[in-house]
Symmetry: C2
Subunit: 408 residues, 2 copies
C-alpha cells in the first residue's frame, strides 16, 4: 500500500468513526424512522422532501373515506374548508409566527404575487411616491419574473440588486423589497433581521421568501417584524411534490392587506354568494379559490413529524452536518477539484452545501448512480441539501467519500 492510500484509509476510518459518534449522540436521529427512506443518501430534500411515513395512510383515508364516502359533506365535516388556515397555524411556530397570520394554498409564485402587490398597496397607504420594488437579483428566478409582473401592474419600477447593495439603495421611492432568506444556489443565508430593519427605516415593506429556510433554521418572522412572507412546503417541510405554498401577513397589516387575487375563498361570507366583495378578516384574506385538498392534507400529515421538535435543535444539527460534510469533502476530494460556494460562517449559511465543479452535470449523474442524490444547478453547481430530520452524519461522510471517489 502506498503512503498516500494508507493515509487515505486512515482518514476514512477516522471520519467514519467520528460520523458514528456524532450519529449516536444526535437527539434528532430517531426522527429518521418517521420517513420512508432506503439505502440512498438523500441530499435533495431542499428540492423535494422525503415521504413522511404518516402520509400514505392519511391520503388514502382522504381519498377513500372523506371523498369517496362522505363526498360533499367533507367540506365541513372533515375540515376541508378550514384546512388553509389550520395548516397555516401548524406551520406558524416553525417560522416564528403567532397563530392567525398564515394561510396555505396556491404555488409560491402566486403567493409572491399576492405579497408584492399587497406590499406596494400597503406602502401607498402611508406615503406617496413609492413606486419602486427592489428584488434580490440572485433570487430564484420565479421571484424575479413575478416581481416584474407585480411592478408592471402596479406602475412601479423594478430594481434587481444584490442583497448586499439593498441597504444603500433604499430610499423614499422604495415601496417593497423582496428577498430570499437563503439563496437557492449557493446556500447563503441573508441577514433577515438587519435587512428587515433597514427596509423599515426607509419606510418600505419587507417581503421574504422562505422556501429554502423554513424547516431548516429559525426564521422568527414576528420577532423581526417582517411584513409579508411566502414559502413552499415541499422542501424542508416534506409536504410532497407541488404541495401548496403559504402566505404570511403580519397581524397588524391584515386589515389593510388588499389582495390582487380576491377569490371567493377570501370573502367575509363566501357562501353568501354576494356580487359585492368584502374581504374576510385576518389571514383568510390571503386565500383565493378552492384549495387543493389532497395535496393540502398530505402536507398536514407531513407536518406531524414536527411534534415536539424544536427548530433550534434542527438548526444546531444542520450546521453540524454541513460543517462535517465540508470537512469530509476537504479530506476526500483532491484540492481544487471542487470549490465551496457556501459561506463558511454559520451566520451566513443555510442548510445546503453548494460546490462548484467544472463537470458538475456529469459528476451528479455518477453520484446518483452510486446512491448519493443531490442535484445539479446549471452551469456548474453540485447542490447538497441537508434535512436534519432524516439526514445523519454517516450520510454526510458517505456522500463526501463517494464524491471523492467519483471525481478522482
Amino acid at each position: 500500500m502506498s503512503e498516500r492510500s494508507e493515509l487515505r484509509s486512515e482518514l476514512r476510518s477516522e471520519l467514519g468513526v467520528r460520523a458514528a459518534e456524532l450519529d449516536a449522540s444526535d437527539e434528532l436521529a430517531k426522527l429518521r424512522a418517521q420517513f420512508v427512506l432506503d439505502d440512498v443518501v438523500y441530499l435533495d430534500g431542499n428540492s423535494l422532501g422525503a415521504l413522511p411515513a404518516s402520509v400514505p395512510g392519511r391520503v388514502d383515508d382522504v381519498v377513500r373515506r372523506q371523498w369517496g364516502e362522505m363526498r360533499i359533506r367533507s367540506w365541513e365535516e372533515s375540515g376541508w374548508w378550514t384546512a388553509p388556515e389550520r395548516i397555516g397555524d401548524r406551520i406558524a411556530p416553525l417560522v416564528g409566527a403567532a397563530p392567525g397570520q398564515i394561510v396555505v394554498g396556491d404555488s409560491t409564485s402566486v403567493n409572491v404575487f399576492k405579497a408584492l402587490v399587497g406590499a406596494v398597496r400597503l406602502a401607498a397607504l402611508t406615503s406617496d411616491g413609492r413606486d419602486e420594488i427592489i428584488v434580490d437579483a440572485t433570487t430564484f428566478p420565479t421571484d424575479g419574473y413575478i416581481a416584474a409582473s407585480a411592478a408592471r401592474l402596479t406602475g412601479c419600477e423594478l430594481r434587481p440588486l444584490d442583497p448586499a447593495e439593498v441597504p444603500s439603495a433604499l430610499g423614499p421611492r422604495t415601496a417593497a423589497v423582496l428577498l430570499n432568506h437563503v439563496d437557492y444556489r449557493t446556500g447563503r443565508l441573508h441577514d433577515l433581521p438587519a435587512l428587515t430593519s433597514a427596509i423599515h427605516d426607509a419606510g418600505a415593506l419587507a417581503v421574504w421568501d422562505l422556501c429554502h429556510s423554513a424547516g431548516a433554521l429559525p426564521v422568527d418572522l414576528d420577532a423581526h417584524g417582517v411584513d409579508l412572507a411566502v414559502g413552499c412546503t415541499y422542501k424542508y417541510l416534506n409536504g410532497g411534490p407541488g404541495s401548496p405554498a403559504y402566505l404570511y401577513v403580519r397581524a397588524d397589516l391584515q386589515p389593510r392587506f388588499d389582495s390582487p387575487l380576491p377569490g371567493w375563498n377570501s370573502h367575509a361570507d363566501p357562501f353568501g354568494m354576494s356580487p359585492a366583495y368584502e374581504p374576510a378578516p385576518g389571514a383568510l384574506r390571503g386565500r383565493v379559490g378552492t384549495p387543493d385538498i389532497l395535496s393540502m392534507l398530505a402536507l398536514e400529515a407531513a407536518l406531524e413529524v414536527w411534534e415536539g421538535v424544536s427548530i433550534d435543535s434542527v438548526r444546531t444539527k444542520s450546521l453540524a452536518l454541513t460543517d462535517f460534510f465540508l470537512e469530509c469533502v476537504e479530506a476526500y476530494v483532491p484540492r481544487g477539484r471542487v470549490v465551496s460556494l457556501t459561506p463558511s460562517h454559520h451566520a451566513e449559511r443555510g442548510s445546503q452545501v453548494a460546490l462548484r465543479c467544472a463537470d458538475a452535470g456529469e459528476v451528479m449523474k455518477r453520484l446518483i448512480e452510486r446512491g448519493v442524490v443531490g442535484d445539479f444547478r446549471h452551469p456548474d453547481v453540485l447542490r447538497f441539501g441537508f434535512t436534519p430530520l432524516y439526514v445523519g452524519f454517516g450520510d454526510a461522510e458517505r456522500a463526501a467519500r463517494v464524491l471523492g471517489e467519483t471525481v478522482t
Copy 2:
C-alpha cells in the same frame, strides 16, 4: 285508500316503470360501476364529483412509489413535470379543443385572472382605447371579484351586465367579456356561439368559464373561435376536492398571450434559471409555479373514465335526466310548492335543475337525511346536479319522490 293516494300510487308505479325502462336502455349506465357510490342518490356532482374507482390506487402509487421511492427522479421519470399539458390534452376533446391549447394548474380564480388580464393585453395589441371589461353580473361571485381586480390592475372599467344585455352593450371600448357557460345557480345555459360571435364582431375577446358545462355538454371551443377559457375539474370531471383548474388559450393567440403570472414553469427554459424571462411557446405559457402533483395525478386517473365516451351521448342523457326529473317533480310535488328556475328549453339548460323553495335550507337538510344529496344555495334554491356518468333515471325518480314526501 283515498282517490288521491290511489292516484299517487299509480303515478308512482308508472314513473318507477318508466325509470327502469330508461335505465335499461341507457348506454352510459354501465359507467356507474367505475365510480365509488353507495345507496345515496348523489345529485351534487356539480359541486364535487363522485370518486372514480381508479383514483385511490393511482394516488397510492403516486405517494408510495413515485414520491416515496423515486423521489426527485419522478419529476422526469414519472412524468410529473409534463403533467399540466398532458392532462390538458386529455381534457381538450371534452371541450372541443385540439391538443396543445390547455394547461392544468392553479384554481379557477387564478386562471380567470390570467385569462382576463391576458385578454385585455391581447385586445390592446390590436386597437387603442379598449378599457372596459364586461362581466356576467349573475356569475359565480369569484369571477366577478377577480374581474374587478383584473380591471383595477389593467386600468379598465368593469361593467357587470346580465348576459342578455351583453350584445347591445358591446362597443369600441370593450376589451374582454367574461361569461359563464352555465349559470351556477339557475342552471341556465348561455348561447356560447352567438355571444362569442357578437363579442368578436365588436373586436373584443371572449373569455368563457366552463365550470358548470365541461363534462356535461359539448362546448366546442375551437369550432366557435373562443379566445380564452377556464374551468374547474372537480365537478363533472370528477377530479377530487380542489383538483386543479385549467386554462385554454386558442392556438393562434398563444404567441401574444402575456400572462400576469409568469412563474418559472412558464419559462421557455425553466431549468436555465435565467434572470431574464422568456415565455415558453404554446399552452405552457399559461403555467405558473410548481404544480400540485397529488391533486393533478388524481385528476389524470379520474379522466380515464371518459375513454370511449362521447360528450354528445352524455348531453343526450343529461337532457333526458333533467326532463324526467322535472316531470317527476311535477307529478310528486304539490303544485306551487317549488318553482323551477331551470329553463325548459333544452338549448338553454345545463345539467342541473334548480328549484326555488321558500324553506330550501331546511328542505335540503331533510333530503340529505333521506339519502338524496343536492345542495342549497342562499337564499331559497335547491340545486340538483345530474352527472350522466353515474346518475340514472331511477335516481331521478327517487329524488323527486323523496322531495315530494319531504315538502308535503
